[in-house]
């Protein structure tokens, strides 16, 4: 029944436009739906679905470095004291200009960390594969080894590294999830930032910004690339004892269990969780995503509300 929400929105929008425009919108939707069957609308935003990546790997959060930002919330006992998220209307109703560094925060940072070095053997550094895409770095490196390489050979190597990196984003790897939610202009912007992060000479001057027409897509990226690493899309809401035993609540229950302020606080600041028998407040296992803004987390909440997760 939750499926009714987006279509109601479409109906409301339809009432606001003239009949001739409705035909045009209808045709546009039809042509898009032919090519993109999973898309819910002409923005190309889709629901989050299926099991979490941790489940896919058959791991728990305890025995994986994945999905952990290594910072936990405050100890139990802290009160919310009427805390409200700080929101700017401009974020919700105007196109948002994104930098490659923003795309990195939404999609990569959770696992690869702020520096791109990853964690241990499980989450590999992304620095070397990115440096491998630079012709200049390849040539310098080979010269330092006493084996000079022609520019043409270096260019071929750089091009192969670039293709490999794009493939990895699209298809994922053994431990890394694929990221089909990233669009081509976003990948270009993200790659420009990855090059800066990896110390490719001159990369800081080649940053590409990307204008995101709707904050729903920002929510989609955060949910699919970050939250969905640990949280299943849909399922039963766990009991306090199941939570205590390590069960992770599904994304589908987050918006029904918590209101917007509590959701934003939990994600950006951390908040105690009630679990166990008898029920008690605990610090919980969920990492704090202090690097996401209140606006961005709100967009994740709205995305989960308008595009309800499905199993």
């Amino acid at each position: 029944m939750r499926n009714a929400q987006p279509s109601r929105l479409v109906q409301t929008l339809a009432k606001l436009v003239t009949p001739s425009k409705i035909v045009a919108v209808g045709l546009a939707t039809l042509s898009l739906s032919l090519g993109q069957t999973t898309a819910d609308n002409n923005l190309g935003i889709t629901r989050v679905e299926g099991e979490s990546w941790l489940n896919h790997l058959n791991r728990t959060i305890g025995n994986s470095a994945m999905g952990r930002s290594w910072s936990l919330g405050p100890p139990p006992g802290q009160k919310a004291d009427g805390w409200r998220p700080r929101l700017s209307p401009a974020f919700a109703d105007r196109p948002v200009t994104l930098h490659g560094s923003d795309l990195y925060r939404f999609n990569c940072r959770e696992c690869h960390q702020e520096t791109g070095q990853g964690v241990g053997r499980e989450i590999k550094p992304l620095i070397s594969p990115v440096r491998a895409t630079s012709v200049e770095l390849i040539m310098t490196q080979m010269k330092a080894r006493g084996m000079e390489l022609s520019r043409a050979d270096a260019m071929l190597l750089a091009q192969q590294a670039n293709t490999g990196l794009i493939q990895r984003l699209h298809k994922g790897g053994k431990n890394m999830p694929p990221l089909p939610q990233l669009r081509d202009p976003e990948i270009r912007s993200l790659f420009a930032y990855l090059r800066e992060l990896a110390g490719v000479p001159g990369a800081e001057k080649q940053q590409v910004t990307y204008i995101e027409p709707t904050s729903f897509h920002i929510g989609e990226l955060i949910v699919k690339s970050t939250c969905h690493i640990c949280h299943n899309a849909a399922g039963e809401n766990p009991t306090p004892q199941q939570l205590f035993d390590g069960m992770i609540p599904p994304l589908s229950s987050l918006t029904t269990r918590t209101g917007l302020p509590a959701f934003v606080r939990k994600v950006t600041k951390g908040a105690p969780i009630v679990m166990g028998t008898p029920k008690e407040e605990y610090r919980g296992r969920m990492p704090v995503f202090y690097y996401l803004t209140d606006d961005e987390v709100t967009s994740a909440y709205l995305y989960l509300s308008f595009y309800p997760p499905q199993s």
Partner: protein, 197 residues
């Protein structure tokens, strides 16, 4: 007349080969010093002698962001199968073989579980590199004869089943200059190498 000449040649080769086989008894041993870890000791090309390439390919793996083994010696004409048994993509290339850039080759980037095969037709050292992981390196030593051996970590080696005779033997070690020495093998012989950068 021409046919008789060919027959004579074939017979000569047969006799020569038969003599070689009877002489397959020599053993050369010694020590390579100057560098840490294993070196490769091999007999240089023997004028007038050719050897069939081994039928089975050798394997160079990649696991845990390293090439395994670090040093692989193969006779000229051998095929090497490069198996990516790691969990990330690797790219494999060598800028030259024996310093000859024309023999450089790029196998490309290929994912975990896949392999590529390459046949080394000329003798020399191919320094293996992975462009994705510049910390990775290995060496394929393409040797001209089937008489070669990898020393132990202390540099000691024994080359057995050598034909008796006079030839040149070389020692290679990572980062060192190759040293070549003449030797006469009759039964057993010994030869030491002291390598320098």
């Amino acid at each position: 007349m021409k046919k008789d000449y060919n027959l004579l040649l074939v017979r000569t080769v047969w006799i020569f080969l038969a003599l070689c086989t009877t002489g397959l008894a020599g053993t050369l041993s010694g020590k390579v010093s100057g560098g840490k870890g294993a070196s490769v000791v091999y007999v240089e090309a023997i004028p007038g002698k050719t050897f069939p390439a081994p039928a089975a390919p050798f394997t160079m793996g990649q696991k845990g962001l390293t090439f395994r083994p670090h040093i692989l010696a193969v006779p000229v004409g051998s095929s090497v199968s490069f198996l990516n048994n790691d969990d990330v993509d690797h790219n494999i290339f060598w800028p030259s073989v024996g310093g000859n850039k024309k023999q450089g080759h790029n196998l490309g980037t290929f994912p975990a579980g896949e392999s590529r095969t390459y046949k080394y037709e000329t003798a020399g050292v191919a320094p293996l590199l992975c462009n994705v992981h510049p910390e990775m390196s290995a060496y394929i030593i393409v040797v001209p004869t089937p008489y070669y051996v990898l020393t132990d970590d202390s540099g000691s080696y024994t080359l057995s089943n050598l034909p008796d005779g006079e030839y040149k033997v070389s020692a290679w070690h990572e980062g060192m200059k190759v040293q070549t020495k003449p030797i006469a093998v009759a039964g057993t012989a010994s030869l030491d190498f002291a390598l320098a950068k």
